[in-house]
């Protein structure tokens, strides 16, 4: 039995060849480094808007009085709306359809008069009514109406001249308020490292096996352990580079407040181990490069969408939440967010143990199934 199973010089040689092959293949560089960054920039920009969203609001003022103008001005001052006037002659419903508007607020004729009467006289008289013409099928219109009602409630309360009786004060369970982008970046890190490790491992091994490079390697002193360690270390180096680039862009562009600590390295490493291992198993089971890739796709897509990369798992129906909890990527996401947003060491440790156990099992199976020679390992 050969005891010289790990050769540092061989692992170094393999990593040098892998890195050279990597940067000489421009499409691989793009997908590995630039693509996750583009995802962060695109989604970050979209959802950055949502955090302080300014809504388009069309108002048809049929009264054209001082009071109605004051109301429009008050809504404008709330800084939540970008107000566009609608001509009093237009038919509001038709106008909304023609101009693809999802909400028009109509200030009725005699608005000023009714308001005066209401304020001066009987507080029990029916309130002045504004009409909201809206498209119930439009995306986000409910939120917009909610924001409008809140603004109106505030105006009502100020006009009544009395301080509010009940107010609420939000207290976050986190140490600080976090934005969507801060939720999103750890998810993209976990996903990018998973995809690259899985496909890196599947593609490299299946291709080299099919081309016969592995057969040549089996006539050199390289061992199975050398080969596997080379793959893992190479993927880890790339994962660290890719993660660093993602974080730098996130800090520079969105000024994210994410904690960088040792947990980040731990989860990136476990992410690499788990999915390089899974890739090795797929290569062995599928045998052909194409079917190995297809199998990797089949595993990757559910994980990408269901394990909380793009949106919180809590948004999904109960049975999908249960399903998410058996996906290994879920624990990388949870762990990274616990470490980077909440800085909750207990939660991070819990996730690390689960994904660590998974990585260990998969990796051992990967080692057992990988062959370097033509026959049994």
């Amino acid at each position: 039995m050969n005891l010289r199973i790990i050769h540092a010089n061989i692992i170094r040689a393999n990593i040098i060849v892998s890195i050279k092959s990597f940067y000489r293949e421009k499409t691989v560089v793009f997908f590995r480094i630039a693509f996750p960054v583009i995802l962060i920039l695109v989604f970050g920009t979209i959802f950055m808007e949502r955090d302080n969203e300014i809504f388009e609001l069309s108002i048809q003022d049929l009264d054209r009085s001082m009071s109605s103008e004051q109301l429009v001005a008050a809504l404008d001052q709330s800084e939540r709306f970008n107000i566009t006037p609608v001509s009093p002659d237009a038919d509001a419903k038709q106008y909304a359809r023609d101009n693809h508007l999802n909400l028009i607020v109509i200030i009725p004729e005699n608005f000023e008069m009714s308001l005066m009467k209401k304020m001066a006289a009987d507080p029990f008289e029916t309130p002045v009514t504004l009409t909201k013409v809206y498209d119930p099928g439009a995306f986000g219109v409910t939120t917009k109406i909610g924001v409008l009602d809140m603004a109106l409630a505030k105006i009502n309360q100020e006009m009544s001249g009395k301080p509010p009786l009940i107010v609420s004060e939000p207290v976050s369970i986190l140490k600080k308020k976090y934005r969507f982008i801060e939720f999103f970046v750890p998810g993209i890190i976990a996903m990018a490292v998973m995809t690259a490790s899985l496909f890196g491992s599947v593609n490299v091994n299946a291709e080299l096996l099919q081309k016969g490079v592995i057969r040549k390697l089996s006539t050199t002193p390289i061992t199975r352990i050398d080969w596997i360690l080379s793959n893992v270390l190479y993927q880890f180096i790339l994962a660290v580079v890719s993660t660093a680039v993602m974080l730098l862009v996130s800090y520079a562009v969105f000024k994210v407040s994410l904690e960088i600590n040792a947990w980040l390295v731990v989860f990136v490493a476990l992410d690499v181990f788990a999915f390089v291992g899974l890739g090795m198993i797929l290569t062995r089971v599928a045998r052909e490069a194409e079917s190995a890739s297809a199998a990797a796709d089949a595993l990757m897509f559910p994980m990408m969408f269901l394990s909380g990369t793009f949106f919180p798992v809590e948004m999904m129906p109960e049975f999908l939440q249960t399903f998410a909890r058996i996906l290994p990527l879920y624990y990388v996401n949870e762990g990274l967010r616990a470490a980077m947003i909440a800085v909750d060491h207990t939660a991070a440790l819990k996730s690390a143990l689960i994904i660590g156990a998974f990585a260990a099992v998969v990796f051992v199976l990967g080692i057992m199934t990988t062959r370097i020679g033509g026959e049994t390992p």
Binding site: N2, R4, V17, G212, K216, L217, P221
Partner: protein, 317 residues
């Protein structure tokens, strides 16, 4: 080990079964140091299986294989640094240059000071040093494969079908390289299904068929011992020649160029045949009388139907 000093390779009763099929069936041979040994056989004869067992990649079902005095099943990691292998269909990393490929493989063998330039010169790839593997032609890829097989300065070089798939020019260039290696005194173990390759390069040729060695000798001796006949070729446009030869009891072959080939056992038969043609008033434009080449010996030893076309001669002992 001293008693085995004469031999680089010793194979005793080697057998390899795959799911009940025997790919290699009880073969034995020895290869001396500095000898060029060729395993010649049609596709599927068991050549690659044999060479892969010798390379320690596969394990034999039974039998004993000794390389440089060491058992291949026990001393894999002692044998590997001392042999060089060009596997069938050699391939390497697409984006890595010729020079980097050689550096990579020499690092795998921990060569302290590999002579990369010397290796590139040997296989005539010096001006391609900075070219990436994927941009090399088929012939250059194979030559790089040879250089890779030599990075560890091996005592035995295994070449599994080194010229398969190459055009005639590239094949000749490869032969030049192999003849150079032969001159340097390396032990070469070659598998091929090209007769001229075996005839040109090998000191000893073993012909394999269905996992068995059917003949083994130097190319000259193989021809001498297995071809007791002469090949007469008449270049003719006259169809009566064919009838005359057939009536004499021979089995002539007629090809699309209008050439008639006849296999004859005795030199007397040649005179008889030519006289008969002349007497029959037929004409021919050219004549060629020669000993059979290794290709014909090979066909005879590997193809049962070949004998039927050789009329009037007995099967070789």
């Amino acid at each position: 080990m001293t008693q085995n000093n004469k031999y680089s390779i010793e194979v005793h009763h080697l057998t390899k079964h795959y799911k009940g099929l025997s790919a290699v069936d009880n073969i034995s041979f020895t290869v001396e140091k500095g000898e060029v040994f060729a395993l010649l056989g049609p596709n599927g004869a068991g050549k690659t299986t044999t060479v892969e067992i010798l390379n320690t990649i596969r394990t034999p079902t039974s039998g004993k294989v000794m390389l440089l005095g060491m058992d291949v099943t026990e001393k894999k990691y002692d044998i590997i640094p001392r042999i060089g292998v060009l596997p069938q269909g050699f391939s390497s990393f697409d984006r890595i240059t010729v020079k980097e490929t050689l550096q990579y493989y020499s690092r795998l063998f921990c060569c302290r000071k590999p002579d990369i330039d010397g290796l590139m010169a040997l296989v005539n790839l010096k001006d391609k040093a900075a070219v990436q593997y994927k941009n090399l032609s088929g012939g250059l890829k194979q030559r790089l494969g040879i250089a890779v097989a030599l990075v560890n300065d091996p005592e035995i070089v295994f070449l599994d079908e080194p010229t398969t798939g190459l055009d005639p020019l590239a094949r000749r260039a490869m032969w030049e390289v192999l003849l150079d290696l032969k001159k340097k005194g390396k032990t070469l173990f070659l598998t091929t299904h090209y007769m001229e390759e075996a005839e040109l390069l090998a000191d000893t040729v073993a012909i394999v068929k269905k996992g068995k060695i059917t003949a083994m000798d130097s190319p000259g001796e193989l021809i001498e011992n297995n071809a007791h006949h002469l090949v007469v070729m008449l270049k003719s446009v006259d169809e009566t020649v064919f009838d005359i030869v057939e009536k004499m009891g021979f089995a002539p072959d007629y090809d699309s160029h209008g050439h008639i080939t006849v296999r004859l056992t005795h030199t007397d038969d040649v005179r008889r045949l030519l006289n008969a043609v002349r007497d029959g008033g037929a004409s021919f434009t050219g004549l060629d009388v020669r000993k059979p080449n290794l290709e014909e010996v090979f066909l005879k030893l590997t193809d049962d139907t070949f004998l039927k076309s050789v009329a009037g001669i007995e099967e070789a002992p």
